[in-house]
């Protein structure tokens, strides 16, 4: 692996409003990751995918079975990245439907081995275990490598109570970003399986596998 190549960091934000707390958290996480890698002279290219802009294309893909060009580009951005930050608002006790639908239209082996940092936002900290109960299993199913620290930002996290035990968002962002940066250094490319039509099994082998013993 060429150490001079900038690392590619894809950032998926499922926030719906503008400005959005989800995008704000996503940007903070991306920036923290970029800075940690920059400290070790690793350049990072950050590419943000705003799912709101792709909402209709994602629905159309579910119906038609293929992505319109902008969605195809977004999927390529995510599958080709060295690391992924994925942030969703909490809707009805889980990730948003739009967030899930985006990952539904990506081949289920296209993200294998990719370092992922999961984040979520919500009005109250009571939903924070969504990260562990919903996002982590999703990314485990996709055989990504999810960093141990997932970052949840409730409304109150953007202010501060003055209580050092709960004013921890900046600390959690730095810790999670450090974990992602470490993985991206270790496994650039995310070792994702690229679809290769060259890997067709020769026909004699396909036939032989069916011969009765």
């Amino acid at each position: 692996m060429n150490p001079g190549r900038p690392l590619r960091l894809a950032v998926v934000s499922a926030g719906l409003s503008t400005p959005s707390a989800t995008r704000l958290l996503a940007d903070r996480l991306a920036d923290a990751t970029r800075r940690q890698l920059a400290d070790e002279n690793r350049e990072v290219e950050v590419q943000v995918v705003e799912l709101r802009d792709l909402a209709v294309d994602i629905a159309n893909h579910l119906v038609s079975g293929f992505p319109a060009p902008p969605l195809a580009e977004a999927i390529e951005t995510v599958t080709a990245a060295d690391g992924l930050i994925a942030v969703t608002p909490v809707f009805s006790a889980s990730y948003s439907g739009l967030f899930k639908s985006f990952f539904d239209v990506i081949d289920n082996d296209a993200l294998t081995g990719k370092p992922v940092l999961a984040g979520a936002t919500g009005g109250t900290a009571r939903h924070s275990l969504v990260l562990e109960h919903a996002l982590r299993p999703l990314f485990a199913y996709l055989r990504t490598v999810v960093v141990p620290t997932a970052v949840y930002a409730a409304s109150e996290d953007w202010g501060g109570s003055g209580d050092p035990l709960t004013d921890t968002l900046p600390t959690r962002i730095v810790r999670a970003a450090g974990e992602l940066a470490e993985l991206m250094r270790q496994r650039p490319g995310g070792s994702a399986v690229r679809p290769a039509e060259e890997t067709v099994v020769p026909f004699e082998q396909q036939l032989a596998a069916l011969r009765p013993e």
Partner: protein, 371 residues
């Protein structure tokens, strides 16, 4: 080059009138459409095979036998015959019978089917789709070529001393196409046997099908059947034609918007931009269809989907008149600059001639390989 139509056989409400044909009306309409195909100068009529509503064609050789009796030239085919859930012995018998009755005007396209419950309904497992397609076809291939077959496999009861009857017409099996929309294994299978490969080319952008056809062409050459350019390629397509482009769009839009497969999804404009669908004037249809050669190379068979999504019979027959005109132009255009080394689609007559030539020890440019 052959031109024709293929039908799914769906019973769908006409969204502009709210009327739905009965199964009986739809079946009779399919036959009328097949007869019309011959009348307007098309070469091929192919029917799908389905075992669940809203589709009617569960028994393709029954329908094709009826059409055979009422036509003279039309080649009867399928799109597709389920090689996974049908007994290959019954396929061998049914299509050999149809060959005799139609005077050799039959070929068949193998497919796996994409309706999950059909597999268990016929005692099979969808996860075994590819192995079923491979084993069943290997048996079918032998049943048509060997008079007495001893056979044992994984999925079907063994055969000892079995003879499939009737034997194929003139001792030459129907030509086989293999249809696939996503599986390289099937392109590999078609290449191995030197059979045709058909890409339905309807739902998705062309680069998807280009990868499969490139693979098929390369492997066809690898197995010694000819050059990659000589591989036998068929393509689907979908058109709606009116003399005036805007009229075509206006008339087809409600059918597109409500179509069972892609309706309520992308706009007609996006879909015509991203996929092979063409809705417009005869000239637009000609131009778009001619681009298929640029994308996939010179090919042998072009089938169009004309009768789905609730289009009324009268409209479909009208469309076929227009398609007949379009195809006249396409024949001339496709013939231009076509290298002499690119073969036509095999027919019963050409397969008999090739067999006789090989028996006489004459070299032909296409070699049959006996796996």
């Amino acid at each position: 080059m052959q031109f024709g139509i293929f039908t799914v056989g769906d019973v769908t409400e006409d969204p502009t009138t709210g009327t739905t044909p009965s199964e009986h009306e739809r079946i009779k309409a399919m036959v009328t459409i097949a007869l019309k195909a011959e009348e307007v100068g098309l070469d091929v009529f192919a029917t799908g095979e389905h075992h669940n509503p809203p589709f009617v064609p569960s028994s393709p050789t029954t329908m094709l036998g009826y059409v055979a009796a009422r036509t003279e030239r039309l080649i009867l085919s399928t799109s597709t015959t389920l090689i996974t859930t049908n007994d290959p012995v019954k396929i061998a018998e049914d299509f050999a019978m149809l060959q005799h009755l139609s005077g050799g005007r039959v070929d068949v396209m193998m497919g796996r089917g994409n309706t999950g419950p059909v597999y268990p309904w016929f005692g099979q497992d969808i996860r075994q789709g590819i192995p079923l397609a491979i084993e069943n076809y290997a048996l079918l291939h032998r049943l048509w070529r060997e008079d007495v077959v001893d056979w044992a496999g994984k999925f079907r009861t063994p055969l000892q001393g079995f003879t499939s009857t009737p034997r194929p017409l003139d001792g030459v099996p129907p030509f086989v196409w293999h249809g696939s929309i996503r599986s390289p294994e099937i392109a590999e299978q078609a290449a191995y046997y030197g059979d045709g490969f058909f890409a339905n080319n309807i739902f998705w952008p062309k680069d998807h099908y280009q990868r499969l056809i490139d693979l098929y062409r390369r492997r066809y050459a690898h197995y010694g059947h000819g050059t990659p350019e000589q591989a036998i390629v068929g393509l689907g397509g979908q058109v709606f034609i009116r003399p005036n482009s805007q009229d075509a769009v206006r008339e087809f839009r409600p059918y597109f918007d409500n179509a069972p497969v892609y309706g309520h999804g992308p706009s007609l404009e996006d879909f015509t931009r991203d996929t092979p669908l063409t809705v417009g004037s005869p000239q637009e249809v000609i131009e778009k269809t001619l681009t298929f050669r640029d994308s996939f190379g010179d090919y042998q068979r072009q089938l169009f989907l004309m009768d789905h999504a609730g289009l009324p019979l009268k409209t479909v027959l009208d469309q076929l008149d227009q398609l007949g005109e379009v195809v006249r132009v396409l024949r001339a255009e496709f013939a231009e600059d076509r290298p002499a080394t690119v073969p036509d689609a095999p027919t019963h007559a050409s397969l008999v001639a090739r067999r006789d030539a090989e028996a006489a020890g004459t070299d032909t440019d296409l070699q049959e390989v006996t796996p």
